[in-house]
């Protein structure tokens, strides 16, 4: 029994590692990072062959199959978590401020971010739209300082590619 569980555990662990690498690889592909995509792809395929051969050699052992499936699912989540921590790339924030747009803009500029203000019209009158391109890493820090100044600010974020120039915090 114990032997069964250790082998299922090993399969779980290997499969988790493999899918973590696979998830990272997909993120690298989407962001166009070829060297990292190659590296993650190599490791992923290497581990995968070991796992799949262990499974197929012993398909009657359901604990191994469960370990395989749990490893797959856990690997996805681990990969996503790591990617979020790394937070590669750039984000464009759109901040709609009904009341305190100017203050938010100058506060962000004081902290060294580049902000472009656009005057606009909302349901209850004039609003200000702020556009701010930042490193994805900075996003969370920026949100908290933003909401301190104007809790009513409406913020959306989207991934962008850097093309050229401007300044990044």
């Amino acid at each position: 029994m114990i032997q069964l569980l250790t082998s299922a555990g090993i399969i779980f662990f290997l499969r988790m590692t493999d899918i973590t690498f696979a998830t990272m690889r997909v993120f690298m592909v989407v962001r166009g990072k070829k060297v990292l995509a190659w590296f993650f792809g190599f490791l992923q395929a290497l581990i995968y062959v070991l796992v799949i051969s262990a499974i197929l050699a012993d398909l009657e052992n359901w604990t191994k199959i469960l370990g395989y499936a749990f490893g797959f699912a856990t690997g996805l989540v681990v990969g996503m978590t790591i990617e979020k921590r790394l937070a590669l790339g750039y984000t464009n924030l759109q901040i709609v401020c009904p009341q305190r747009g100017l203050e938010v803009a100058s506060a962000l500029r004081d902290e060294g971010y580049a902000v472009t203000e656009v005057a606009a019209q909302g349901k209850d009158g004039a609003v200000e739209i702020l556009h701010c391109s930042v490193l994805r890493k900075e996003e969370a820090k920026l949100f908290s300082s933003l909401l301190d100044i104007d809790p009513s600010a409406f913020i959306t974020a989207k991934n962008v590619y850097r093309v050229q120039h401007g300044f990044w915090h």
Binding site: R25, V26, V29, V30, G32, K34, A37, W38, F39, F40, G41, F42, L43, Q44, A45, L46, V49, L50, I52, S53, L56, Y90, N92, A105, R109, A114, V115, T116, E117, V118, A119, H131, S133, K158, N159, V160, Y161, R162, V163, Q164, H165, G166
Partner: protein, 175 residues
Amino acid sequence: MEILLSPQTWLSAGLIFSLRVTDMTLDTLRVLFVMRGRKAIAWILGFFQALVFVIAITSVLRDLTNPLNIIGYAAGFATGVVVGMTIEERLAIGHVQMRIISPRRGTGIAEKLREEGYAVTEVPARGKDGMVTMLNCSMLRKDIHKVQTMVNQVDQDAFITSEEIRPVRRGFWRA
């Protein structure tokens, strides 16, 4: 060690490598097409990818004593990913929206791009040192570099970002 010297093992490892390069090239292209909502192309790529994959994995599993097979398999996988990315970059399918922020020469950039046939929307805005112009211009992904060069001819210091978009309706696209 003698396994490494036999031409037979090198041949089978090389075969597995090239099968895996083909299959992962198709797979990477498929993922990038799925993200852009191209169903028909995704189906065709998925079909051939799975077909080649089954052949590759069975040839590896048939002879696990040959470490070259396993390495060929993994290296083929990784190389296929990069080949797929390169092809996708060349194809450059889809549309992007470029946002150009220029402190002084916004109108000049807009005129230049319009002369070349691109649709440009100008928005007056304010930056750190006073008024700026924000230009929104949607184009085919293929055209990014061409448009960037045109912008630079007018204003070297313009700030440019791009994002992928899906065309919804209307407006005009430069053919």
